[in-house]
């Protein structure tokens, strides 16, 4: 399981901001994704209307989730598959292991799955003598480097080409010394060569799911590399790892959401591969697994239903929020300290690991609102982060000094005449301190501000209310 470092968000962020390689990678992402999304959206006049449709599909599904889950499970079983209902991460890990054991699996290939990261499937399988092999290019390098993903669709976006080369040379010990890794293509060729035999040797293939379709019992994955298809068609056993909110009612609903997904994520009209899987291989089918399992995880999500956080379950994991987030843009994904970074993680992580551990995340936002403005299913992310701050405030989890200052300020702000006195005193005192200069380079109690920037001094002449009252008296004569 991804080691939780969210409580050390500030230290994580400081380290990230001091890492030139990471900053270079982040600059590359910032220069790429927002522009691509904008172009894709501009080319589809009905995109805004589609966002409403996407939101409504998800809202409807969540309002009737029990019914759709049962319908879905019945359809999976009709198609010869098995649904493993798992309330907790432990249940889901056990279910995956059990399936692999029964299949006598030695190696397991894996498509990209954030649920797998959430569960720590790789570590669990390794502990029990089964070798997992990540087949998504980004996940593959992260497995070599023993690093968690930093982004939900581009897990290794934080790495530069030199990092790839370094890891390949270190881990692929038989590589000739004169092998050149000059461009992206060289990296692809190396990974593809290594993976080909793994695909063929695997006993079980594990994939995630972008959508589960109640109408047909199908699971849907999208990839740009085709690794998902090889993962799920070549082995004898296919395991789908998915959480309950991936549910949509019909094939048509799934296609509506697919029209939003790639455009929001990478600015593509569609991902290169979109694959629908339904049950086991039937007589006469050219391909398909002998066994088809769905490990269906709740993992705390049903607790969100009926709360102010329910809207978060609409998320289709496109990553537009983090691609556009100015905080993610300087800290990168690892700073957030768990599986899901960026704005969507700042709402989801406290739900799944507890706000007492992930309390920094919903606070580390300027509420600039960019995330909400690009969310394909219109999740009000700043509002939901504010709800977490409310929970923290109620439970006295916010820092004591901060609460004290806020309380002191509020005491004055609630008493206009006292407030006038205090602000007059404050501007007067700051005015005296600032005499001869327009800005402070440092100021007692304002170290947070003045560490990296000056603090402008108040305009001389007193507060507005003071001056306005003076002016009114003068006019009245």
């Amino acid at each position: 399981m991804v080691h939780l470092t969210s409580p050390a968000f500030k230290q994580n962020a400081a380290r990230a901001m001091a890492d030139p390689g990471l900053q270079q990678a982040l600059a590359r992402s910032k220069a790429s994704f927002p522009g691509k999304r904008t172009a894709a959206v501009a080319a589809l006049p009905e995109f805004e209307a589609l966002r409403d449709i996407g939101r409504d599909i998800k809202n409807h599904t969540l309002a009737n989730l029990d019914w759709y889950l049962e319908t879905y499970a019945a359809q999976v079983e009709r198609a010869g598959g098995v649904v493993h209902w798992c309330s907790t991460a432990d249940d889901a890990r056990a279910a995956v292991l059990e399936i692999c054991r029964k299949a006598g699996a030695k190696t397991v290939t894996k498509g990209k799955s954030m649920i797998s990261e959430e569960l720590g499937v790789n570590e669990h399988l390794e502990t029990h003598g089964i070798t997992p092999v990540e087949t998504d290019l980004g996940e593959y390098i992260l497995q070599l480097r023993k690093e968690p993903p930093s982004h939900i669709i581009g897990p290794a976006f934080h790495l530069n080409r030199e990092d790839w080369e370094e890891s390949f040379r270190e881990m692929h010990t038989d590589l000739p010394k004169d092998r050149v890794f000059g461009e992206r293509r060289d990296i692809l060729v190396e990974a593809r060569t290594r993976l080909r035999s793994k695909f063929l040797a695997a006993d079980v293939g594990i994939t995630g799911a972008n959508f589960l379709i109640a109408e047909t019992g199908s699971s849907v994955i999208v990839t740009n590399e085709g690794n998902g298809d090889l993962t799920q068609t070549l082995p004898r056993v296919h395991v789908v790892l998915a959480s309950i909110e991936k549910m949509v009612p019909t094939l048509e609903d799934a296609t509506s959401l697919l029209r939003l997904l790639a455009r929001s994520a990478t600015g593509q009209d569609f991902s290169v591969y979109t694959t629908f899987s339904t049950g086991v291989r039937r007589q006469g089918d050219l391909d398909g697994p002998e066994e088809y399992h769905v490990v269906l995880l709740d993992g705390g999500r049903s607790n969100m239903i009926g709360t102010e956080f329910q809207e978060m379950l609409r998320c289709i994991r496109c990553a537009a929020c983090m691609n556009h987030c100015p905080v993610y843009g300087v800290t990168g994904g690892h700073a957030y300290g768990w599986v899901y970074p960026g704005p969507m993680g700042s709402v989801l992580t406290p739900t799944l690991v507890g706000v007492e551990k992930a309390g920094h995340l919903p606070n580390a936002s300027t509420f600039c609102g960019k995330c909400e403005s690009v969310c394909p299913v219109k999740i009000p992310l700043p509002k939901l982060m504010r709800h977490w701050r409310e929970r923290e405030f109620e439970r006295h989890l916010s820092p004591a000094a901060y609460r004290r200052n806020l309380g002191l300020w509020a005491w004055f702000a609630k008493r206009p005449s006292m407030y006038r006195l205090a602000t007059r005193f404050a501007t007067g005192a700051l005015g005296l301190l600032a005499r001869g200069k327009g800005s402070f380079t440092s100021l007692p109690l304002a170290g947070g501000w003045t560490e990296g920037r000056d603090l402008p001094a108040p305009e001389p002449g007193g507060t507005f209310m003071q001056r306005y009252a003076r002016q009114q008296r003068a006019t009245r004569g």
Partner: protein, 257 residues
Amino acid sequence: MPKPRPRVALFVTCLVDLYRPSVGFAAIKLLEAAGCQVEVPEMQTCCGQPAYNSGDRATARDLARPVIDAFLPYDYTVVPSGSCGGMISHHYPGLFDDQDPYYRGRAEALAAKTHELISFLTDVMGMAAVKAHYDGIVTYHDSCSGLRELGIKAQPRKLLAGVEGVAMREMAEAETCCGFGGTFCVKYPEISTRMVGDKVKDIQATGADTLLAGDLGCLLNMAGKLHREGVPVRVRHVAEVLAGMTGDVAPIGEQRG
């Protein structure tokens, strides 16, 4: 159609009150030029946003109630800030959700007639041009709440285009947050400073000599960073330029001289 000489209550905002009274006086001048009768309700302190965004809804409600009582009697409430304006027009009603239907109704009524200053001048009062002169190459930062909650983008540019002597030069990423974020800037100072550092680079790259915006929090943040980096850009609230009051007060963070 707006009534002849609508009665407008000016919500000054705590930052303008404390830091930049000229913005308040510029607002009054512009509103009067647009044909409004302006009053400044005396009891105002702060809209409550710091408490609201810190998760302290009870304090936010306590601060919102007297604002609602004092400002509701006027035809309009006008705020020289997208952030505080958005607090009243977009967030006040939600503060009283189910617990207090009386104030919920009053908050909705106030929200419906509360506007940010510049968009009020153009969109409600139909102001097409101002009489002002300012010599400068101007770049404009779109503050987040104004831009995304209230749709303020074209309005200040439209009025600035009519100011004699102004040449506009847009910066890259004008819509990206400057890193102020209310209490964020002191809770996460390193991240905030990095964000405003990036903003300063974008400002510098335009070659503009003046930075304008419609929110004092962002302006203090950007002025502070420009000053620290020694970048000679004059920083002002857009209302000061539109009201032709730049001769009355030095740019933000600078000494008159």
